[in-house]
Symmetry: C3
Subunit: 163 residues, 3 copies
């Protein structure tokens, strides 16, 4: 790239693993930790005291508030929004926990204090108001349980093979 | 903070009250007014000729177009989008009016020219196509009337007390 | 405007037509082409290898991924999100094609590899999971067919005349 300047806000005491990529026009708050090999897109807001694991991909225009904890190998699609306050502005914040290998679809909105279980899939545009069990697939507004992640992975394999 | 530089676009003739905070990577258009004690997050777009009252909190990644008028003590959750044109690009814009003490949930989309009545609550991910009466609570796509804000406030109090 | 500085990321080999406007705090990736007279708002993410036609208007906080192809005279409302991967991260990306004169409402989420047919209208907050035929009007989550664009245009005309 011809542009040497970085247009970013990276806060104090941010801990970045090796091979972390953060694109331009992205905000990372104080004290946030991002694990090895994770890639963060542009126009992303990651607030203070967030933990993101290894080999994640956070696409552009995502919002992640304080206290959110994200595991390893998680994909967060563009425009997804996380929250941490069930009754704004309550003053009592509670982060959402995203376990390993979760996929969050584009434009999804995730309620505060939830657990997105290991390997679950949040559909595009889903508005998630309850915990999602491991391997569950949810979509809609409000999000409801659809099929299982095992089926999702079969579909994914077919897609990767070109049908 | 160790970063003295501001990465912001603040337009001409913007009127800021006392103790207004505007975070980095935020855009504020010409002629916009923001009242005392209001805090604006990062990656927020506030266009020209917007009025925002006192002691509001506008979270990150929010979009507020021209002609929007927001009262005092309003909370706008992250990723919420306001609009001002019912038939783009009609050339005849109409701002939405947000009365005092309204709460707009994360990722909500608010139609043009609406009134969000005093103390009403817009659920997370709601797509609001009609006026919301004072003290109403709405959610869904399209947003429908749920319970009353009085009940919301009771729940909020319980939450603040730790259940 | 009194601000001479540009706060933008414009990639390499971006091809801009005449009279293209790109606002501050916007990201445009490498190799992207934007046609004559198109206006791009602030806090917009347009990735690499995107094609956008002439006289389009892309409002603020929009996300457009690689391989998206947008025709002429298209309106994309604020906060809309496009996608290009049906099973993230599959490694097999497929762009969405937006034909001429399409209107995409605020906060809409558009699935990968779809065709939005000429003159169709995507409602505010719609989550589009299938192709939309020319002149179709869709809304909801998931988006369903409503009325026809001809009726939309009549409504628009009435609105422009002040009722």
């Amino acid at each position: 790239m011809r542009k040497p300047q970085r247009i970013q806000h990276i806060g104090d005491n941010v801990k970045l693993g090796t091979d972390v990529e953060i694109w331009n026009l992205t905000y990372v708050g104080n004290g946030t930790e991002i694990g090895d090999g994770t890639k963060i897109g542009s126009l992303v807001h990651i607030d203070y005291d967030v933990k993101i694991g290894r080999r994640c991909k956070i696409e552009g225009c995502v919002y992640i508030p304080p206290l959110t904890v994200i595991g390893d190998d998680v994909f967060v699609g563009p425009g997804a929004t996380f929250t941490n306050d069930p009754y704004p502005a309550s003053g009592r914040l509670v982060g959402t926990r995203v376990e390993d290998e979760v996929v969050v679809g584009a434009g999804a909105v995730i309620g505060p204090g939830l657990t997105l279980g290991r390997g679950c899939v949040i559909g595009m545009g889903a508005v998630v108001t309850r915990d999602v069990p491991p391997e569950g697939v949810v979509y809609g507004n409000p999000a409801r349980r659809g099929y299982e992640a095992a089926e999702y992975r079969k579909k994914k394999e077919r897609w990767q093979k070109g049908r």
